[in-house]
């Protein structure tokens, strides 16, 4: 059964107020094409989560789609900071559940296994734990067997997880190459899973190396075939990040005014094809193609 659909239909699976686990880690494998579509649809009140936020998170926050963020950190690496996320936090414009990245991942892990909670040994004795206890998502406790100090973390079960992947078959069986950060747990914890794939292959391809399947088809709600759907972030073994565009975005996100100009120029009133044309089209994309040996 094919789960292939369009970006706009996939975006309709995300409702105002949903908790959405994001795909990217800083400047790698962000599901930009779907984030753009959510901005175009003016989705509101999202809770977004990731162990490390990337460009897609900054875009969603800057566009006003987000009411709450659950995270451990995030940046554009040396290109700069997540200006919209940081400003929204500074000004108290969004609710924040800020913890260590392992705490976010453990909370996904608990959700992925249907555990109501999970213990962790970090966070202890830091300024991170009190706000989490106050928010009712953590509590300090002792291991009932050995008496060791732990922090109990409440499971995360996102309404939807978004995953940008290199390869999938039409049924939805999805393969991710390279490191996967918190994708395994976030996707398995989510109620709905939206996959953006750079390439759609025949099912036999997947079934030849099923050890590489990260998400089995029956866990995928919708699959969208979106070449360069992660631009300007990197997709290992497919294309490198677009340093020029990342620098441009890092400048734009310093202020809401310049960010809004960025949205108007690259995101609003167009579609993914229009976006790719605006950032330089085929000529620009050709310069990003990954070297098969290096992976970037």
């Amino acid at each position: 059964m094919s789960r292939l659909t369009s970006l706009s239909d996939a975006a309709r699976l995300i409702n105002d107020g949903d908790h959405v686990a994001l795909s990217g880690f800083s400047i790698a494998r962000n599901a930009m094409a779907l984030a753009h579509e959510l901005v175009r649809r003016d989705v509101r009140g999202l809770t977004i989560s990731a162990c490390i936020l990337g460009l897609e998170a900054d875009l969603l926050v800057g566009a006003g789609c987000v009411g709450r963020v659950i995270y451990g950190g995030g940046s554009l690496d040396r290109f700069g900071q997540l200006g919209r996320v940081n400003e929204a936090v500074e000004r108290g414009r969004i609710e924040v559940e800020y913890m260590s990245s392992l705490a976010v991942t453990f909370r996904y892990l608990a959700g992925s296994l249907g555990l109501p909670y999970i213990p962790i040994r970090s966070l202890l004795a830091s300024d991170l734990v009190a706000p989490l206890v106050a928010a009712g998502v953590a509590r300090e406790d002792r291991d009932p067997f050995g008496g060791e100090q732990v922090v109990l973390l409440r499971a995360l079960e996102p309404d939807a997880a978004i995953l940008h992947a290199q390869v999938a078959d039409a049924d939805g069986n999805t393969r991710v190459l390279g490191p996967r950060w918190d994708n395994d747990e976030a996707v398995a914890a989510a109620k709905r899973v939206i996959v953006l794939a750079e390439e759609v292959v025949e099912p036999i391809e997947i079934r030849r190396s099923p050890e590489l399947t990260l998400v089995p088809a029956f866990r995928v709600t919708a699959l969208v075939h979106v070449p360069f759907g992660a631009h300007p972030t990197a997709v290992y073994r497919r294309y490198d990040y677009d340093a020029e565009h990342l620098a441009l975005y890092a400048d734009a996100t310093r202020s809401q005014r310049t960010f809004d100009e960025y949205l108007a120029r690259y995101v609003r009133g167009t579609d993914h094809a229009g976006y790719l044309a605006a950032i330089g089209g085929a000529a620009k994309l050709a310069t990003l193609t990954a070297d098969p040996g290096l992976g970037y």
């Binding site: 790698a28 690496d77 040396r78 900071q81 040994r121 004795a125 390279g178 918190d182």
Partner: protein, 260 residues
Amino acid sequence: MTTTIESFTTSELMVVAGARELRDGELAFVGLGIPQLAAALAQRTHAPRLVVLNEIGLADPHPVAFGVGNADPRHWYGASFMGSFNDVMGKLLHRGLVDVGFLGALEVDAHGNANATQVPRVTGGIRRFGGGGGANDIASLARSTILIVRHERRKLVERLTHLTNPGFLDGPGARERGGLRGGGPRRVLTDKCVFGVDESTARLVVHSIHPGVTADDLREATGFALDVPKHVATTEPPSAEEIRLIREVIDPERRYTKSL
């Protein structure tokens, strides 16, 4: 015997000083920039079996180019293992197998506690940064940490804006009482000196001063009370071979080592 050379940048000295703190066979998290270059230098000198971990989900990369951060595939090249954040931060770090984390910080206090979250704005309010990511996990759970921070009064502070990454908290035994399994800081590396830790007080003490820096310079640039012993070692300058490796092999574009 090694020949030392006269002309080197402070960042080159810091790379060398950092490299010397890393031991052969250790499992290490190393931050972007100087810590990463220090690990690369250590692997090419006394620590060929030093294993670098990347929280993004991989182990033992052998980059042929330096990139912009953990998420840059340039830092993934040649890895022996690629998996998940949990494989590295859960099954290695939280499992208690990681020897050292070499981390930057926005602020460090006299007990080696660190802030990776936010600082006050001169205009009032706070300035938020990228956040600690896995730094709290590493500071809590790694067998030891090495901190790197620019040596300024506003960064080496009496009181942290936010205690993101626990050091020795308020003194000896506090980590154990707090339930922290990791060993805490073993060094703090700055552009003016190398700090060690006084076990009796769990406070930072000057381990060595960089060439050309005076005790007064240190006190002047340090925001917490610091007594500099009369007879304190000078940080050993780079050898000619270390400089050659940095300039020709590890950072040929001089991206991190041109100046501070």
